[in-house]
Amino acid sequence: MQRLRVLVAMSGGVDSSVAAAMLVEAGHEVVGATMKLWGGDSDSGCCSVADVDDARRVAQQLGIVHHVFNFGEDFETRVVEPYVAAHAAGRTPNPCVECNRHLKFDRFLHRARRLGFAAVATGHHARVVPDGGRWQLRRGLDGAKDQSYVLSMLGQEQLAQVLLPVGELTKDEVRARAGSLGLRTAAKPDSQDVCFVTATGGRRAFLGERIGLRPGRLVDSATGEDVGGVPAVELVTVGQRRGLGDGPGGERRYALSVDVASARVVVGPVHELETEEVRLTSLGWVDEPVVAGRQVEVQSSAHGRPHPAVFRGDGIRFREPERRVAPGQTVVLYEGDRVLGSGIAA
């Protein structure tokens, strides 16, 4: 094995702790770094002082140097502001995807290169597999914990410099390794949801401070009648059912489309939510661009089920009608467990 200088992004969680430990065990020259991204309230994700402490203590246990990088400003402009703007426009963004795109695999990767590291590593559950001089991005071995969706923006240039050691392990194995190494993060709960949105306040509290949330009206798709209201139109996602009430016959109502400008949400029964086509923007490919007509599987949320579809050049067509994808969501194209690329639902 080639001994590499590797900079590990250590969030203070168990996965990146074990990633660092595995690279040390493998004989690489490992340095840890924690990105300080968010300075506000947080209870679910990374970046609290306690998490930085955990990362540093794990680094000490492993006998590696640990640094803290303050990328707060980039996080604000590259992740938080676009997240807020997307909601203000009635779209449903994936901030974790944007964080990976702009922070972990751009800002962090660039800094690592500047500092003379040959590779960066993270604790993501996905695999980078060599393929005759090229690199494939594949799902993590633990299907339930697979995070390839949020890494789907990685291209060849980045994959050549990225190590994802825990992608070869199940989550149970990760915890078992952390336990047997006596790492203090072994039993730490998985991070949930968006790191800068608190569980108590939720998106409502976060967005409410940054944009004026406005009440919206619900319009029945069949009759055009006003059938109720929602407290914040910016928080309604296409496909959402909760908070929209039931129809006169007791049938469940779903959000079919959201128009922030007029503060109207068109609602209707689930079958109206179904569609065959999803148009995609911002397409990007892990390797060679996928050509139109290719059979793929499409996944439109971090832990959603993949559905068979055909790539059509500017979007996909499902083999069977599926639920509409909320505008702004990342749509990832797979072939088996291999990520081909992704786009953003228009």
């Binding site: 930085v52 140097v65 640094h67 803290v68 990088f69 707060g72 800094r111 500047r114 003379g116």
Partner: protein, 373 residues
């Protein structure tokens, strides 16, 4: 051997201090507040240390309040006067956070500085009024090293707010300056032992007769009811020993370190294009070398210098260790980007030519690497 050029953060314990402390970490374990022989030995040590500290700071022994460091001394000065007299707390925008955050918590007023980091006396005069109960102006700045004109500040204060107390944070000054003389116009003076070769966790506040402070730490009434808590005997003894040694050697040390600092600053300015020296050398303490390297992220620079064995700092680190743009540079009108490209190399009594040589090689190398296209 790494080149330790972070003496403004902390400086190594002087051998005199260690030697003086050891007996009080071993056989002389008494609590100085007791009434028996074991206690008396400790009491004697604290009393003698107090005499030494008073002499070195130009005050009476009864005016010395031992604290757990500079931050506590600053807190006691501002909160203690405010609790006693009420009124408004005022400080400059370049104070250490121990003063700045305390002022903010007390709802006080922050006074602007000029681009050179020196308090703006006109603005100060305009801002002062009868309601001000304490004004805090540091003697030497911890980041850029600039020395504030305390005598002029005092005369403005006497003129505009004669009832107000003047506090000075002399934490960074003591190693370099004759604090006894320069802080004479101040009613309150804070120092911290580990900045001049004493141990960490001990400091002192001079509270001149006529200035009264309410305690911020309550308990057994030590330090004439101004600061409760069992004395840190070894720490206090170590501080006194370091103070005495510092005062004895200060003039020669300043002369020697100035030469090293000039060689370092000149050498870096010459070797690294786009270098700005933040404060001119005739306005700052001898150990301070604060530079900005255009277009370089100091956070990354620190990592490379750490690898190269050069221990320096940049800006101020927050609780997580992440680098924040310095409030001192911001107050001086330095842009955010420029503030994040700064490097503080701070020399001390133990700095050698070898340290400077290593920095003169490593810093240009590291900057060049970060500037590679």
């Amino acid at each position: 051997m790494p080149a330790y050029l972070d003496h403004a953060a902390t400086t190594p314990l002087r051998p005199e201090a260690l030697e003086a402390m050891l007996p009080y970490l071993t056989e002389h374990y008494g609590n100085p507040s007791g009434a028996h022989g074991i206690s008396r030995a400790a009491r004697l040590a604290v009393d003698e240390a107090r005499d030494t500290v008073a002499e070195c700071l130009g005050c009476e022994p009864g005016e010395v309040v031992f604290t757990a460091g500079g931050t506590e001394a600053d807190n006691l000065a501002l909160s203690g006067v405010r609790a006693r007299r009420g009124g408004i707390v005022m400080c400059t925008a370049v104070e250490h956070h121990a003063v700045l955050h305390t002022t903010e918590v007390l709802g006080g007023t922050v006074i602007a500085v000029g681009p050179d980091g020196v308090v703006d006396l006109d603005r100060l005069g305009d801002a002062l009024h009868d309601e001000v109960s304490v004004l805090s102006v540091m003697l030497a700045n911890n980041e850029v090293g600039v020395v504030e004109p305390l005598d002029m500040v005092a005369s403005v204060l006497r003129d505009k707010a004669p009832g107000a107390a003047l506090h000075t944070d002399a934490v960074q000054a003591f190693l370099w300056l004759d604090v006894a003389a320069l802080a004479a116009p101040a009613d309150l003076v804070a120092v911290s032992a580990h900045k001049f070769g004493g141990p960490k966790g001990v400091g002192a506040l001079v509270v001149r007769t006529g200035t009264e402070v309410s305690p911020i730490i309550h308990g057994g009434g030590q330090e004439r009811d101004r600061r409760s808590g069992t004395h840190n005997v070894a720490g206090i003894v170590g501080m006194a020993a370091a103070m005495r040694a510092t005062v004895a050697e200060r003039t020669a040390m300043v002369e020697r370190v100035s030469v090293l600092r000039d060689r370092l600053a000149d050498g870096l300015a010459e070797a690294v294009p786009g270098t700005t020296e933040t404060v001119s050398r005739d306005r700052k303490v001898a150990g301070s070398c604060h530079l900005r390297f255009q277009g370089v992220e100091s956070e990354a620079l620190l990592v490379l210098l750490d690898d190269a064995g050069v221990c320096v700092s940049a800006g101020s680190a927050c609780t997580s260790g992440a680098m924040e743009p310095s409030h001192v540079l911001t107050a001086m009108g330095v842009s955010r980007v420029d503030a994040l490209s700064s490097l503080r190399l701070s020399l001390g009594a133990t700095t050698t030519d070898d340290d400077v040589d290593l920095a003169l090689k490593a810093v240009p190398d590291a900057v060049a690497r970060l500037r590679e296209p």
